[in-house]
Symmetry: none
Subunit: 199 residues, 4 copies
DNA sequence: AATGAATGAGAGTTCATTCAT
DNA sequence: TATGAATGAACTCTCATTCAT
């Protein structure tokens, strides 16, 4: 249990991360300036440094925030014992919904993480790799079960799913009127038909 | 036939565009600096302005360079009378090969064009729209011929093809060891299976 | 009553305006550089931008500072009910004394205001026009009273007074040893004899 | 007698001086750029250096051009044996007509000569001083003849004449619709009445 | 916990000037 | 005689960052 003031700090820091996410998503890391971030929070530029030690650290936090619970989702999906189709649908749904909810942060993770210092990027990459690996495993299992065509390269397949989701995620973030449900349906439909074993 | 000096100017300007493409692709528009571009060409920073009136203009030229002949390719593909499968294969091949050849510029068009001033962006958007529209038409025709499932939304399908190609294009640019031929094969395979009408 | 910090800001901004006035007066707007202005204030170049958003804005503030209370003076003179001679003497005195006191700024207003953006120049021009108009009115009244020869064109007369004062003002600013009192005397003497109705 | 080519050189150099005068008058020495001057002549920027060794030299030439024959005029006026009034009228007429004819150059001499290097400025100053001195002499003579009031300070009087002419010269250059003849009339009228000995 | 003020490094851009052709 | 191309220095302006208060 934290003291009231520690609690406030945590709350404000979250607000700072969200503000940074929004600004980085709109202008990119280098195009954004700390003043914009501060103003979006309602504080002054200098005060930002109470929550971040540098702009770069802010980027790191945004990226982490951007993938973490989206990776947790995948942990759940992967460890379940649903059918291949159900797992793929769940993956796409989770991925695209993330864009709607914590939208900007995930976009920032995709587009700007390469500006992070080596060290920090490594930590994040592990999360990303775990995600992709679990997706590959799902494909591998499905191949063994004969649900997916034997010719499919699981590594390619996983990248393709992620790529497709990110491409649509971009459109979703940019256009708030897009029908999320329909996009999910179309994507899963395409992917399942594309990979599965038809007789 | 131009004079020798006009020719030299044109050649150097092309070199400038290529250099800018490479630098923008690596660091993003805002993260890049004109000094880097100039140095990559072997000239001094100030001399760049003999070829561009501003960094922004350089971005515009790179973007144009990035899509123009790739759009021309699509014109050819769309106007031909090949089968749906052949056209889709040709599209993917052309799109992904573009990334290998004029690699960085197309990536820059995708990721950085939004930093262009309104006016310039509009001109480029028309090119992009034409591309997508022609792709949509291919899907429409295929639906009429019964080669593609009736449930497919042509607009979604076109976006999906583009999104997938761009996602892989990114990977291709970043990793020069990727087997372009295999990627093309896997992508077309996925897409054709995903959209076509199986009995 | 402002807070202590707002007060400090105001004070520093005034100092910045004075410094800019001095530098612009010496080197002209385009010949001056912001580094000189900052150094004269004892701050660093970049810090100037805490007080001005651009060099141009600095010029605008200097020009405003240069005429404003000098115009107010004329308001007082014009609305009084002194004789023509007294009013003319007061005008010349006020005008030339301004050069000694806030010296550089008035010179800057005269010589450099044309480099201001349209909009800003318009606002200042109104002040200047008011000044000239009041002077014209003084001449008109004097003509009605028969103190000034009927052939005199009031518009010409006002311009002549202003022109003569500015010409001497320039000399006064450049040569600090000039006897201000004598200059005033000579000028009023010339003007009164030049315009008045002698029998 | 010069060769045809030397003649052309001389002609082009004159054109360069006039072009520089126009540009300096409009934008000031520091605000002007050599490209503008060259373009106004119809040649390219680099070619200017065939006629001037530096921008500063161009300024020097413009200034010289601006006062030289205007000083010669004064030589003629001063050495004649006309009345004071005639000489004053001639002076004002010559001075103001200069602004209409070789207009910009004289303005440049007045406003920009202080940006010339010490050495060059000295040479020009002598010309200016000669002009003023001759004007002073005219006043001195007139005082002896009793045409001008005894209280008048000849030095002040000369400066006043010059100052007034320059002030109107500025207006004349800026506003081409101004009636030159009327301005001359009004100015001489004011000055003669202002200085002369009325009974 | 927050801010006002300042800083210094670096960016884009301009421009006088040079020089081979 | 003129030009295209390049240069390098200077300039305005931006911005992440610091720190006393």
């Amino acid at each position: 249990m934290q003291s009231a003031s520690a609690e406030k700090y945590t709350r404000q820091r979250q607000a700072a991360i969200r503000a940074a996410a929004a600004v980085f998503a709109e202008k990119g890391f280098h195009g954004a300036c700390t003043k914009d971030i501060a103003e979006r929070m309602g504080i002054k530029q200098g005060s930002l440094y109470y929550y971040f030690s540098s702009k770069e650290e802010a980027l790191g936090e945004v990226c982490l925030f951007g993938i973490q619970d989206y990776v947790e989702h995948m942990d759940n999906i992967a460890s379940g014992d649903q059918s291949f189709e159900a797992k793929l649908t769940a993956t796409v749904t989770s991925h695209l919904s993330s864009y709607r909810e914590r939208n900007e942060a995930l976009k920032v993770y995709n587009d700007e993480r390469l500006y992070l210092p080596e060290e920090r990027r490594t930590g994040l990459k592990e999360l990303g790799s775990r995600y992709r690996q679990q997706l590959e495993d799902i494909f591998e299992d499905a191949k063994k079960d004969g649900v997916v065509r034997n010719g499919i390269d699981s590594h390619f397949a996983a990248q393709a799913v992620i790529g497709m989701c990110n491409a649509w995620g971009d459109l979703i973030v940019r256009d708030p009127d897009l029908d999320l449900f329909k996009v999910i349906q179309n994507c899963t439909d395409l992917l399942i038909n594309g990979f599965s074993n038809k007789k």
